[in-house]
């Protein structure tokens, strides 16, 4: 088995797990997207005016309540097949259903995690087209993962309130993220918030160093695991953990390949 095949196998299984859990979550949320739900397709249909008229009837069937349930079940099945076998046959189904789910939620259900899942699925589908594309596909996933941390770090560094740590205090206290009371209390202390903010910014902006060698790649991926686990505990961002985890094998591969 070539290194590329091994990394693609692990990546496919991880994204299969991520997609299976995403599909299960959305199936559990049927009251929200069903006929009488807040996100009823009857209202969201207006968004589809931006798309070609010929596509709208088909999309309407796939995105309205009974059809969308079928889409989610097909996605779950394809995800479980990918998780169990890493067979590339289910990858186009995962990609197509991922785009449909994003459309159903006005572009994204969960922002960045949908984008990273898409990056990984695009890479895996490209690699499945031809073995010659495998290396490029993995480098694409690794580069997007490195960029995701780097850009997030740079925009934070530019913000004076991030540099002082006050943004972190604000996020931890925000009603939206419902951080545990202990974390909110800790991050209400300026020194703790400033230290934590700088740790996040340094980790984020330095992440591209992972591409300089396998040892660095493992170190950054280990740090990323801690970072995402903390984000999940603090802010409930569980989808980010598995979406980014699916990209980490490609980061390690790129570190080994580019760093020699």
């Amino acid at each position: 088995m070539s290194p590329e095949t091994l990394v693609l196998d692990v990546t496919a299984r991880l994204v299969g797990l991520a997609c299976a859990l995403q599909a299960l979550e959305l199936l559990a949320l049927r009251p929200a997207w069903g006929k009488g739900g807040v996100f009823a397709f009857a209202v969201l249909r207006d968004d589809l005016r931006a798309l070609p008229a010929a596509l709208r009837p088909l999309l309407g069937r796939l995105l309205d309540a009974p059809g969308f349930g079928v889409v989610l079940r097909v996605r779950l099945l394809a995800a479980l097949i990918t998780l169990a076998t890493a067979h590339p046959a289910a990858l186009p189904v995962l990609l197509a259903t991922h785009v449909l789910v994003s459309l159903r939620w006005r572009g994204a259900f969960n922002g960045g995690s949908d984008a990273m899942t898409l990056v990984v699925l695009l890479g895996l589908n490209a690699a499945a087209l031809s073995p010659a594309l495998a290396r490029g596909a993995l480098l694409y996933i690794a580069l997007q993962a490195a960029l995701s941390y780097f850009i997030a770090g740079v925009v934070k560094l530019r913000g004076p309130r991030w540099r002082s740590g006050s943004v972190l205090t604000e996020i931890a206290a925000a009603e939206r993220y419902q951080a545990p009371a202990l974390a909110a209390r800790l991050l209400a202390r300026p020194a703790v918030a400033r230290t934590a903010a700088w740790a996040v910014m340094l980790f984020d902006t330095c992440f591209p160093l992972a591409l300089l060698g396998p040892r660095l790649a493992f170190m950054f991926v280990a740090a990323a695991l801690v970072f995402h686990l903390l984000n999940t505990w603090l802010f409930g961002l569980n989808r980010f953990l598995l979406a980014w985890a699916a990209a980490w094998p490609a980061v390690i591969y790129a570190g080994a390949l580019l760093g020699g």
Binding site: L44, L103, S148, I151, A152, K156, G236, L242, L258
Partner: protein, 186 residues
């Protein structure tokens, strides 16, 4: 890593820092935005908007402003599977989209009471359905037969006392029945 690849990577990273940001807008782009990730997580854009509502009785008496979204508890399983928490985050994104689209409306028309453009906004209609559901479900203390309410968006700034937070939007008095639309803008 070869020097050429290293230089290319450094150049690419520098470009993301120093090149001017180009924002591409449009309804189709918005629908496919997962294809164009910005990766600008938690950019310092100020406090997030917070969704509130208040009930209005038949005699026009308004109750206190209430948080629309109830807290969601997170157990150990939420590390991997957290549908209620993710739905809550999706509601947060919906409120962000509403604020962004409100900024595109003609303020003069709104001030004149012309609410057609407001009523046509998909996020506004979704938020109305959300509040209407909360009012109707008993999650909010609704004094029967009051099914009229108002929506308010305030900036969730922990430095301000709850009643001093900046109000970015306040709807006219709405009825819960009107929010249960079949898709056509009310």
């Amino acid at each position: 890593m070869s020097a050429a690849l290293g230089a290319l990577l450094a150049l690419g990273l520098a470009a993301t820092v120093f090149l001017p940001r180009t924002t591409v807008r449009g309804p189709a782009v918005h629908l496919f935005r997962a294809f164009f990730p910005s990766w600008r997580f938690f950019e310092d854009t100020g406090p997030a908007p917070r969704l509130m509502h208040r009930l209005v009785g038949p005699d026009g008496t308004a109750g206190p402003w209430l948080d629309t979204l109830p807290p969601v508890s997170r157990g150990p399983l939420a590390l991997l599977y957290n549908p209620a928490g993710n739905l809550r985050l999706a509601f947060g994104s919906l409120v962000d989209q509403l604020v962004a689209e409100l900024a595109t409306l003609d303020e003069a028309a709104l001030a004149r009471g012309d609410l057609r453009a407001l009523d046509a906004l998909v996020p506004y209609r979704l938020v109305r359905r959300l509040v209407s559901e909360r009012v109707g479900s008993g999650l909010a203390p609704a004094p029967a037969p009051a099914l009229a309410y108002q929506i308010r968006l305030v900036l969730d700034d922990p430095r301000c006392a709850p009643d001093e937070r900046e109000v970015v939007f306040e709807s006219p008095v709405l009825t819960a029945e009107a929010a249960r639309d079949d898709g056509a803008p009310p």
